[in-house]
Symmetry: C2
Subunit: 317 residues, 2 copies
């Protein structure tokens, strides 16, 4: 009975710890705010407590835990387990995450970039099952990506592979959080869609987008654009089509390079469904070469809210 695993999901706003049994069933879960401003030492102590709590509440002992999987914002080094200044975790500068966890729990620990871990979870438990070459793309605050080839995360030379969101499409385009201009992320992330919507609604009094945000320009979010598009708002439809054009262009470039069997899109694409996916598919088939375009399916990711928990677990089962 030492076949339980612990999963740790470290995000900029929340920490989650789960314990799962041999069949990947999650038997207990604890969630707390990260309070990222307090830095890594606060977070690691909190995580220690959370792991103990997660195990105890499930009436398990530490001895029954055979591995710990950690999904964390990158960049990080999967071999040494050191985290290098993720944008959402201020102060985690060369932080020896794996070493700290292994020294506390004496349990083999694997740490992984969150987008890679999500890609692996979708391959193991979600929309990527049965496919040899899987690309998972987040589409929320940022656009991240992870590649799974024959069931293994593709890491590249130094654990940096899959950064599809920082493909540059418009070198003179809008500023990206990464410091460059015109990255896919700067055009199609949730905040990027909201930014374009805010600019557009000021010249388009017929649109219901602003009303859906209670008339507050600052409150306009990508969700309002999706909702308005579902109600046939023509400005919202234009914003969706524009988003799909850039997404499709970026995905087509990746399709030519990587020739994936399937591209799975998260969060916003799950919420939007075919409203966004169909024009993305259209752009991919006109921008990618015929053979890889024929091979690829473009689908919403399947794991939804459980993705973060399963991502950490997928690393060690």
């Amino acid at each position: 009975m030492d076949n339980y695993v612990v999963g740790i999901d470290i995000g900029g706003t929340k920490l989650a710890t789960v314990v799962a049994d041999d069949s990947c069933k999650i038997v207990n879960k604890v969630r707390k705010p990260t309070l990222a401003d307090k830095g890594p030492e606060y977070a690691i102590q909190l995580l220690f407590d959370m792991v103990y709590q997660t195990i105890e509440e499930a009436s398990l002992k530490l001895e029954t835990i055979r591995a710990i999987g950690v999904s964390c914002g990158g960049p990080l080094d999967t071999k040494t387990g050191v985290v290098y200044s993720p944008p959402n975790l201020p102060g985690w500068d060369a932080f020896p995450l794996k070493e700290r966890l292994e020294s506390e729990f004496k349990v083999p620990t694997m740490i992984e970039n969150d987008a890679n871990a999500c890609a692996l979870a979708e391959y193991r438990f979600g929309g990527g099952r049965g496919y040899n070459v899987v690309l998972y793309m987040t589409m929320s605050t940022g656009i991240g990506g992870g590649i799974v080839v024959n069931g293994q995360i593709f890491h590249g030379a130094n654990d940096s592979a899959g950064e599809v969101g920082h493909q540059i499409l418009l070198p003179d385009g809008p500023q990206c959080g990464c410091g460059k201009r015109g990255c896919l992320e700067a055009l199609c992330s949730g905040p990027a869609i909201a930014r374009r919507a805010k600019e557009a609604v000021q010249n388009e009094s017929n649109s219901i987008i602003l009303a859906l945000a209670d008339g507050k320009l600052d409150a306009v979010k990508s969700e309002h654009v999706l909702e308005a598009a579902r109600q046939d708002d023509s400005l919202a439809q234009k914003l969706i089509d524009e988003t799909a054009y850039y997404m499709g262009w970026g995905i087509a470039n990746v399709v030519n390079m990587l020739n994936p069997d399937i591209v799975l899109l998260g969060t916003i694409a799950i919420a939007a469904g075919d409203l966004l996916l169909n024009p993305i598919r259209h752009t991919v088939s006109s921008f990618a070469m015929a053979r890889p375009a024929e091979a690829v399916k473009i689908m919403p990711a399947q794991l939804g809210d459980s993705l973060g928990d399963l991502a950490a677990i997928a690393l060690v089962v």
Copy 2:
């Protein structure tokens, strides 16, 4: 003594057959024009003759050949060995190349996309030795690419991975041979550089590019641009910088996605050397993310004229 291999290189203008010994030393070679207009039946009969001639001239018997490797323009299916209408081989429509060769010679035969085979040869014998993630890019009539990961060609879902040259940078840019607009190939291949040079020299009487082409506008080639740039011709330098900008932009996007240890550039980049490679490196380091940009070396391919021969051999040794 049955440890010889035959390599077959099928290009749009020439066919080459080689025989190599166990230590990959090429012991004989035969070369003929493809006469591509005569179609696949002419070419296959010619290849049969060439293989017999190559073996006989080396005083070998067919029984000493343990495998045949074939490097051929794609698209093609490496599993079935069928070639699907490569742009440079008219009439090769669903041509069962592997089956025809195996039925003639009764020797196990592997066929591979030429850019992939070149990537493998660079990994085995050239600039890619010792690296885990290698991207090889041709830079001549077209821009092709091949990816080698841990010593294996990365094929993707249907043998179409590595098409880095058809990454679209400028959707409203110049027409590409593939039917799309603004592909990297349409901006940076030899003919694309020549096209930009022809346009530019008409408004720039101080440039020596036209003189290097004996004053004939139609005769301007990428070689003349390189030669003029070496002589500090400012228009040529501008054309080189423009080429390096697009190449660097395209490579940066791939570096973010694939995180290669090394990118090896062929033909034009070999001829140009640091004149072209330095501004490419500069653009990659400003357009790619810091971690993958730090990891990657951008170098000329090393195998030069022997690349085509070694590409076919690399598949079976």
